[in-house]
Symmetry: C2
Subunit: 495 residues, 2 copies
């Protein structure tokens, strides 16, 4: 990404190293703003460009972070999770204990009285353009109350499908309205896609860790899971995947290449292209979960794997649930060569989506300021993630590591000292605090010391209290003291 | 039902016979209002009660019909379909031709430019309380725009589930809000219920003819179908069913005991009780499709089989799609002993229903005049059915028979002269008229001479033109002349 000559390069690398040192020694504390670029240029007698390049390098290393219209800030000083867990490629069915635990955590997550620091559903409606959406719905109802009395039939609102196609084009897909099937949220898109491309008994490749709902979903369809090593920063191991494809050991693959839940990784463009090529070559359908695609922090957004799909082996599944209107539950799927099968299954499963809600979304996409809204969300989540990482660094046991998400609002925390996070979950539940234990994210036991946390909430006293309490319980279980503001200054190993 | 002494009984039977004769001879024509009861009592020198009893008898015979607040009318003079088709109990998978035909008809049915005389979706929004619903939605949005920004989570709006439970109680079920799962229409309720109670390879008992979407639905889940003889007036043969249950030949059963689609039959209370007892005794789940329960013409409504379900083997599936708000696609299921499994599958399949739409429905159920609205719908559909039967009698070939629906708005027509209704469908499609051929309603070929028609449309020139054209094509294919107003005066054989 550097535009500089080699002399320049030495200069800005030196500058970056100086600042990195200051950060690691705690001179520059997490959450602090870096000095203004012009001031640094003056004091170090270098050009503004050199400083900018140095900052970019620090950003690449995960040490600082740009906040639009505000400047550069030191990131929370948690060491990054940098290694995938050990893997044997074992085909599995979930045990009934695992399914029971998922049920139990899911129920706790949805409990209205609990303080939740892990749910991936923003409940702070101030984050959503609800007032604007409400105005659009009300205006539609005034002009066309008859919409309510019309049967919602497949394939659903052409206006919405056209708007989706128009936006997809910006994001690098080339789609037409006819290639899109509206669904009841992203989970229905995944469910229909699985039913379209698999038979009971088939084996589906998954990232590890992965979205925990996929385990009971696969089980409910008589499908088996095979977890594939996934790097916390680079994502799904394509080498491991290729081996599995060669050996014909999976009949389908589910992945979330952008802002993955729970790790927050974004796959590089190069790897996205390779992934698209792999599934097309081996003719194994990829269900690409694009739920957080528009919440990637990098701009311009990195395109979806679907953008490189030559022969329709990628089924792109997503939803507006995390970005515009959680209540509406409207998602969509572009199922490529499986379009007809998916459309037929949609009609058989739940027919169609409400035209009232679909047309509301379409009008918002067309002229409601969606891009502006997305920028606000991204800024907010990026800042929240940093603040949350800072809190974890202060209050969780020394040696705690966390991922550096490149989008979305969830992140992955690994605890030291053999802390059993399922036990931690139980302990915290007694105080009505809800976390999501790592055991949910794999059918193995390899994440029993991990947690998924989320920061899509307002950072109020309740949230910070809950993080502090979670940290205290973790320290107790680990038999370790909490970290410090400048503590555990491990340099992220992948820089 | 008679309250009369034996002398009275002779009197009113005589009176009924006289009027039946007049109807059969065409003196009283279909659609005509009978003379006022007091006038008949005077002219025949009998009591008002005797006339009332005679009218009831004529009604039982399907010759006349009461229209609330209006009087008694002569029904369309089509002979009734009175015999179930011949059956061998054969387990089947749909052929690909059958599935293709279903796809083709479904696509044609949903074509906006076609004149449809068979679709079971009222598109005449004047039939629905859209303006009132729109007002409720708008008011909710004004008071709680934040609803839009809240994640819709299972099990969904408690307000709506409570209102449903309250109404169910009136209809003879005893349900609590906790026993109800909201679904995306009735089709999702059926889909989830099937997935909860069956394994791929299982065999599901169906009425014959039955709702045609069930065939691809079963096929999509790897289930086989076994069609059970079904009487056009009395419904599912419980003797045949008991035999199948004894022989353990079906693992689940789907039936629509009230206002069945396509026949329009309503099972007697006695048979409903027996059906409930059978499925509880043999412990085979019954998926009761209650979609048209509230559109039964008889008042008070006959309770659902679910009302007699002792041990939770009945999964009651229904929706507000045909009665309040087709666009909202909100249905529900009371899955008895399978409640937990169904609730879990709902979350995995499509998570939950929109709170905005659910709370709108709840507010309408609570104080929107739902009962008044239902009375209007029932009156309208009863009158429409009669008018439609009159049109069929005039324009379809002599010898055409039709069912006498006891609710809803669809009916079943059997043509004479080996008319192939799939050919008729193709011919009419060229004129952009859409009917539903009988071939869809069974995996056998036994209904190739039948049609399902619907009268949930306004009876405008376009509808009557389409019926006339359908009749002309049928006459041509049958090589028979059309019926007459007073023609084909076959006395319904089951009187």
């Amino acid at each position: 990404m550097s535009l500089a000559s080699s002399t320049d390069q030495r200069l800005y690398q030196q500058l970056a190293d100086n600042f990195a040192e200051a950060i690691h020694q705690g001179t520059l504390k997490p959450g602090k703003r870096l000095p203004a670029i012009r001031r640094v240029a003056q004091s170090h007698q270098v050009s503004v460009n050199t400083v900018l390049n140095a900052w970019q390098l620090l950003e690449d290393r995960g040490l600082i972070e740009a906040r639009p219209q505000s400047g550069y800030y030191v990131r929370g000083m948690l060491p990054a999770v940098t290694r995938a867990g050990q893997h044997k490629a074992r085909v599995r069915d979930p045990s009934s204990e695992k399914l029971d635990l998922i049920d139990k955590v899911f129920a706790a997550q949805n409990h209205p009285d609990y303080t939740n620091i892990s749910l991936a559903c923003p409940q702070d409606s101030e984050l959503f353009p609800s007032t604007r959406i409400a105005r659009i719905t009300a205006s539609l109802l005034r002009r066309q109350p008859n919409l309510i009395g019309r049967y919602a039939l497949p394939p659903g609102s052409v206006y919405l499908r056209e708007e989706i196609a128009r936006r997809a084009l910006h994001a690098g897909h080339s789609l037409t309205a006819d290639e899109i099937t509206l669904t009841h949220g992203c989970i229905e898109a995944l469910q229909l896609a699985l039913r379209a491309v698999t038979q009971p008994g088939d084996c589906v490749g998954l990232e590890s860790p992965t979205y925990f709902f996929l385990f009971p979903l696969l089980a409910s369809l008589g499908l088996k899971a095979l977890e594939i090593p996934t790097d916390p920063q680079h994502g799904l191991s394509l080498d491991a995947l290729e081996m599995l494809l060669q050996e014909k050991r999976i009949q389908a693959l589910i992945a979330m290449p952008s802002a993955q839940n729970p790790l927050g990784y974004c796959m590089s463009l190069e790897n996205k292209k390779r992934l698209a090529k792999l599934v097309n070559t081996y003719q194994v359908p990829l269900l690409e979960d694009g739920l957080y695609d528009e919440l990637q922090f990098d701009w311009p957004l990195s395109p979806a794997v679907k953008a490189f799909d030559q022969q329709g082996w990628v089924l792109y599944c997503t939803s507006f649930t995390k970005t515009i209107a959680p209540d509406f539950r409207i998602g969509w799927i572009a199922a490529g060569r499986f379009h007809d099968a998916v459309a037929r299954l949609k009609a058989l499963s739940s027919m169609a989506e409400s035209s009232l809600l679909s047309e509301t979304l379409a009008a918002f996409l067309a002229n409601g300021g969606y891009d502006h809204h997305l920028r606000t969300l991204r800024r907010r989540y990026a800042a929240n993630l940093d603040e949350a990482r800072g809190l974890i660094a202060r209050h969780f046991p020394q040696g705690t590591r966390a991922t550096l998400p490149r989008g979305g609002f969830v992140f992955w925390v690994e605890l030291p000292g053999n802390v059993n996070t399922t036990e931690m979950f139980d302990r915290l539940l007694q105080e009505q605090i809800c976390v999501t234990p790592g055991a949910l994210y794999s059918l193995s036991e390899r994440y029993n010391h991990a947690l998924r946390l989320s920061c899509c909430y307002p950072f109020d006293e309740r949230y910070t209290w809950a993080i502090r309490r979670a940290g205290a319980v973790a320290c107790e279980l680990a038999g370790l003291p909490p970290g410090q503001d400048h503590g555990v200054p491990l340099r992220p190993q992948t820089v």
